[in-house]
Amino acid sequence: MDILFRIRGGLDLAFQLAATDEASTKKALKYVFSDLSNKLSSNVMVLRICHSSVYIWPNSGMNTIPSELTDDSACKEIMRFIQYDQEAETKRKLTKKKDKKLQDMQQVVNVDFMLEMTSPSAALGPVIEKENKEHHYVSMTLPVDVVVSISPEETWRNVQNILVNAVHKQLTDMERCIMKYMKATSIMVPEQFHFMLPGTRHLVTISYPMGVPDDQLESYRKELHGLFNLPSDRPYFRRANAYHFPDEPYKDGYLRNPHVHLHPPGLESGLVSFVQENAYFYKQSPSYEVGCTLKKLETLDFWPEFLSRAKAAVRRATVFKQGVTAPWGAWRFFQGCCEMSDNLAQLDVQTQFTG
């Protein structure tokens, strides 16, 4: 299974404009992007492997563990230096024990994008220049979010090149996105989304202008369907269909797995099972017996709004979390589950008829 390297960080984009017409803005943008590209080709660019003490200078092949990570090392070696926090580590170990299938879960190496402020060169006496000229000053932070899928056996030398090229490619994509959606001096911040396309195991990254709704991007999305030879029966490139990284919390705040914050009851006769997404309706599913009550409780809470049968506001998953973690909360929660499961059964029947 390939390793996903995900580089994230911000890159300052700032420039002066003497005239505010679109042509001069585009010219200035082109100049400033080529300047940024030069910066990314120099030793100023530094990558930090998260949860480790490893820093790399991908343009010069330098790193902070030169004796252990050489140009010819296989890139999977980097995993040895990453220290997961306690919670993630326990989860990882548990997953290994319980479910073999999840063993080949995607390995993600998170990387921070950084810039070096120091240089080995001699000092240059600083100067202050003040210019009294009317102009417009445009500034924004470009959100870098690069994902590359690399074979664990790939040499570190190649990995560094791949990472640098990917960052450059994203810079070009962001430039294209800005140029396409800008109006005079109104410049949209490009936002990155990764999509796992059907039939592939690689991610495709697309830059969308922040704040522009999906509907307005329809023609561009259709263009992308054509580019990747995708059928038009599903909106693959809608933002909501973007790939969700296993180590990242969901932005909407809904609890996907109600077991996450529950501690094992410690009953000897108890049965611990893993609830699989959407499988609890079927009796043959291994999740049916144990997981369904809890899962249904969550479903029950936000279904009424979907079905327009009740006006109850959607309670956020965090309320559940608080309820369960409060003293005796787990017990009350369990009692509530028993009561509600009957109601849910009725609701299921109704849904089958109406939905």
Partner: protein
């Protein structure tokens, strides 16, 4: 139990020399380093006499102490200290008759000196930092010392007794941390602030930059180290070596810009009347005593030096502009000011170097004079290290080299057309390369541009 001050023996000699002079009293500053366990004093400096006063001028009572003069001296000295070293306190040498009032005068001076040295600092003290400053009273007749400390953060703090111990090698074994930081600060001037003084606008930009330095990641000798670890962890101690030595660490500073530092969906557009650019590469240095130094303290010392050296240079420039202001210059379309360069010079009997700032038109003699006046230290002209080249000299170098290379290529092409002999061309190319070497070598450009 009060604080302990480990004091270089030469400081004791200096104080006793001062006390033999026929004066009723003398004031001065104590310079050194604070550490969680103990403080180190490496230098004592008397307050210089005012220009209009003669060396022999002798105030009769403690009320005659010119507090403003002492604090101005303190802030000038403070600029000359690299990271890690600071004005630790003040001393008064007085006759036994004045002994009773000395403590009050010392207390007042300790607080006003501290206020003046921290006045324009762009950083704040950390939570657990030692903020006790020393007040040393020396009796000129009996040579008796009374050492007390005051917590300078608490205006009502009372004196605490402290221990004053002389040692012979306090200033000998220090570790130095060095780096050259590239500075490129752009300060847009919107209509509201365009009419402000250059100083105010520059300071706003510096404050933002200082925050970036505060948040930066520091790598020591290419390695990331635990903050609470010892700086020398894993290194062999060379106890047998009695020569004063400096172990130097090379530091890299990295910065990270958060991906979502702004939640705007479009770029910010400001209508500006002008802009200020501050550019250059500044040499930064900090010292830390080699008695179990912590990584955290070493990094903090260098971090503050980076911030101080740039803000001090700007302060010096603005003071200079105030004195030599040319009317009408403000309305120019473009203003250009070179900030002073930093020069380092060693102090006698120590491995530590102190610094000063030198404008392009100042000579080494003027630096020497300033070291004598401010620090009462004689430095040799050849010891003054100017490891800098001016910004425009750098530009000129590049320009000359580009010109030479282009000339070489042009000649080569001309010859190629003329003779069309490949062998001849390579011969001429080597000739131009040799010429380039001969021309560049004396200027020191060859090594710089052919790395």
């Amino acid at each position: 139990m009060g604080r302990s001050y480990f004091v270089e023996e030469t400081v004791g000699q200096y104080l006793s020399n001062l006390s033999t002079k026929p004066k009723v009293f003398a004031t001065g500053l104590l310079i050194g380093q604070c550490s969680p366990q103990r403080d180190y004093v490496i230098l004592a400096v008397r307050t210089p006499p005012k220009e209009e006063q003669k060396e022999s001028y002798c105030p009769a009572k403690l009320a005659d102490i010119d507090e403003e003069w002492v604090t101005t001296h303190a802030s000038q000295v403070s600029r000359m200290l690299p990271g890690g070293l600071l004005v630790l306190g003040v001393f008064i040498i007085a006759t036994p008759e004045l002994a009773k009032d000395t403590q009050n005068a010392l207390r007042k001076l300790v607080f006003s000196v501290q206020k003046s040295v921290t006045k324009k600092r762009l950083w704040n003290f950390a939570g657990e930092e030692v903020l006790d400053r020393v007040a040393l009273q020396v009796c000129s007749t009996t040579k008796k010392l009374v050492c007390r400390t005051y917590d300078v953060q608490d205006a009502k703090s009372s004196a605490k007794p402290a221990d004053w111990k002389y040692q012979s090698d306090v200033s000998a074994f220090w570790l130095s941390l060095n780096c050259t930081v590239n500075v490129n600060i752009h300060i847009p001037l919107p209509a509201t602030s365009a009419n402000h003084e250059l100083e105010k606008n520059t300071r706003n930009g510096l404050t933002r930059w200082a925050k970036q330095i505060e948040e930066g990641v520091f790598l020591i000798n290419g390695q990331i180290k635990e903050e609470d670890a010892e700086l020398l962890e894993g290194q062999k101690k060379s106890r047998g070596n009695s020569q004063p030595s400096i172990q130097a660490f090379d530091v890299k500073v990295l910065t990270q810009l958060s991906q979502s530092s702004s939640h705007r969906s479009t770029a910010t557009v400001q209508v500006c009347r002008g802009s200020i650019n501050l550019k250059g590469a500044i040499k930064c240095r900090a010292y830390i005593h080699n008695n179990k130094p912590r990584v955290k303290d070493a990094i903090q010392a260098l971090r503050r030096d980076i911030i101080n050296t740039l803000s001090d240079r700007c302060e010096i420039l603005f003071e200079d502009l105030l004195i030599n202001e040319t009317p009408g210059k403000k309305n120019l379309k473009r203003e250009y000011h070179a900030l002073p360069q930093r020069v380092f010079a060693p102090i006698a009997g120590s491995s530590v170097t102190l610094c000063d700032y030198k404008f392009g038109d100042e000579s080494a003699g003027e630096i020497q004079e300033r070291f004598v006046e401010m620090l009462d230290q004689a430095v040799h002209a050849e010891d003054i290290h100017v490891r800098l080249r001016s910004f425009w000299f750098g530009k000129l170098n590049t320009f000359i080299l580009v010109l030479l290379s282009n000339l070489g290529v042009c000649i080569a092409f001309a010859l190629h057309d003329w003779n069309r002999s490949l062998g001849r061309v390579s011969f001429w190319l080597s000739v131009t390369a040799v010429l380039k070497y001969i021309l560049c070598k004396p200027l020191g450009l060859w090594e710089k541009n052919n790395k």
